[in-house]
Symmetry: C2
Subunit: 357 residues, 2 copies
């Protein structure tokens, strides 16, 4: 294992120390429990948007903390869920009196721990809602997950919900926006290489010299199939069509019913894409895939979307939700309406995503 | 070789097609000859800032085209100089009547071709000045280079000169700023892995399982030494001290004397860093090194700078000048004064670098 680290057990701590020193204009860092939070938190009267998950997916989530996006991010160890005390302490630190939204990727550990954290801080009188992201069309159930995994749509949801909160939407409205983004977003990824979790010291799976893993998860979870290497155009078509031709997807999720004060199962349906839909197209490097290859993917994706009658109205291309140094990419398409586009365009000032005034 | 490409010979063309589709709000692309240029070019009355070089270092330079940075970027094939006709045609397209600055990394092919391009467009009545970047302290001469190589300082020079041009500085003043940035910037890098140029299909060098190349060039050129792998702190110290303790560096460069209308050799000196200097600190991934490792480097760099009396006043951390998927990092320190800081802070809107209004 060759990495720019000191001791494997210090990777996350030292990463956070570096983030605190490198981005003082955007964020502060709390240690024990670990979380990254807005330098100007709490923002009074604004819904606080919090996410978190295992480390190793940088810049998600810590790189998305700042004006117009997250109020706090809770990093676990590499590929390991953060703990309820991190989430609860982050909520206490950044809530500005208007409630807290937890954006939760659908991995069993994350889901349980964010629910426990919500219960903890609700007992102290802070309003909290949890919204799940489960957008990966590759597989139904997976290692670490019942139902679909939460992947690329998470980045878009954090941007859009952050804008909604900044604009003064109340807690239920921000949660509604988050649910709407999740129901309209679909993703799928492919890996050409594994990655090495520092504490493990060896690749998290093996792939032949001419093989790729189609439908890979962001922790190296197996996908749909292992196939021979294909061209960029063929791979893009495989991912794009899996997303665009995905049928209606029904799932039961647990959300908090604030009236009753209890967790309730509700059924949610993602409707398939249809010709005429407007979409945000997101081409993401899993970490090790270089920038020169991403436009080659985008070029084909653009062509396929046009052929299918989907209008790409906004784009995001780069490294945003990664698996350490894994070579691979993922594609996300998010159906948007005027409101979501407007929230997407709103100013954002974070270490990893910046635009607008 | 596993890459998201179609045919190796189409990589740059298809990358440019993707860039044109993905970033229409920032840039347009010209094919045959290939260059990326500002969507709103030419900007009348503004000095046009142009750079270029081999592809494979993305986002440099095409990702830096836009308001407040480059007017055009000329990409060669991967790790291959662009040709004079690309540079000349780009200059014709974007010049707004106030002259053109070519920012040239010190590689023999780039230097010669940018000089030929300057002669070509000068013959047509367009004023052009060429400024060289040669900031790599690792080695004196190198494969492809007489004198020091041009590396990380190029990114900072493009940002700062772009801001100067945007602010209405005249051609000589923008060139002076560029020369000043170069004379005050120093860089050094290290590689943990090679990379694969698509047309070659195999790694550009080999490194043992426990080895690294210290002082690597951005095309995989050998550096100072090949050593056993070290910790992040040890590597950071090795690079930072090589930069901070570098003595006065004298070199002779060719610049155009506009009065005489001929290329003239002038001697330029980089003065060493001194306690009390203010610096911009730039921690750069060579491509394959993931975001989780960069703050670990920055953390130690910050400590070393403090110990040496250098005040880090601004920072840049991420992938900006890369070698395809190479795992490695480089550190750049740029001594700045009030004017350079102010130009650094000025708004920039490009695919890869965005901030401000």
């Amino acid at each position: 294992m060759k990495k720019f680290i000191n001791r494997a057990e210090d990777v996350v701590k030292e990463e956070l120390e570096g983030i605190a020193l490198a981005f003082p204009e955007f964020v502060k860092v709390n240690f024990n429990p670990n979380f990254v939070y807005r330098a100007d938190a709490p923002v009074q009267g604004k819904v606080a948007v919090i996410s978190g998950g295992g480390s190793g997916h940088e810049p998600m989530h810590g790189g998305f903390v700042g004006m117009g996006m997250l109020d706090a991010a809770c990093p676990g160890e590499v590929f390991t869920s953060p703990t309820p005390d991190q989430m609860a302490e982050a909520a206490r630190r950044v809530h500005g009196g208007a409630g807290v939204l937890f954006i939760v990727k659908n991995y069993t550990g994350d889901v349980l721990n964010f629910e426990m954290a919500a219960d903890l801080v609700r007992a102290e009188g802070i309003r909290v809602l949890n919204i799940l992201i489960d957008d990966d069309v590759a597989v139904k159930d997976s290692l670490y997950t019942a139902g679909r995994r939460g992947v690329g749509t998470t980045v878009l949801a954090e941007k859009i919900c952050g804008a909604a909160a900044e604009r003064g939407y109340d807690l239920h409205k921000v949660a509604d926006i988050c649910r709407r983004v999740n129901l309209n977003g679909r993703s799928m990824g492919v890996a050409l290489t594994p990655c090495i979790v520092p504490a493990a010291g060896k690749p998290n799976f093996t792939l032949g010299e001419d093989e790729m893993e189609v439908g890979i998860g962001i922790h190296g979870e197996p996908g749909r199939e292992r196939t021979k290497m294909k061209t960029a155009d063929e791979i893009t078509e495989m991912l794009a069509l899996s997303i665009i031709e995905d049928g209606a997807y029904r799932r039961t999720v647990r959300e908090l019913d604030e009236q009753k004060g209890e967790w309730t199962e509700i059924e949610l349906v993602s409707e398939p894409f249809r010709p005429g839909d407007r979409v945000i197209a997101f081409v993401n490097s899993m970490g090790g895939t270089p920038d020169i290859e991403l436009p080659i993917i985008y070029r084909k994706l653009h062509e396929i979307c046009e052929k299918k009658g989907l209008h790409i109205v906004r784009r995001l291309m780069g490294r945003y939700i990664t698996s350490l140094e894994m070579q691979g990419i993922s594609i996300t398409l998010l159906r948007v309406d005027d409101e979501l586009i407007d929230l997407w365009d709103a100013p954002v000032k974070t270490p990893a995503l910046r635009w607008g005034a």
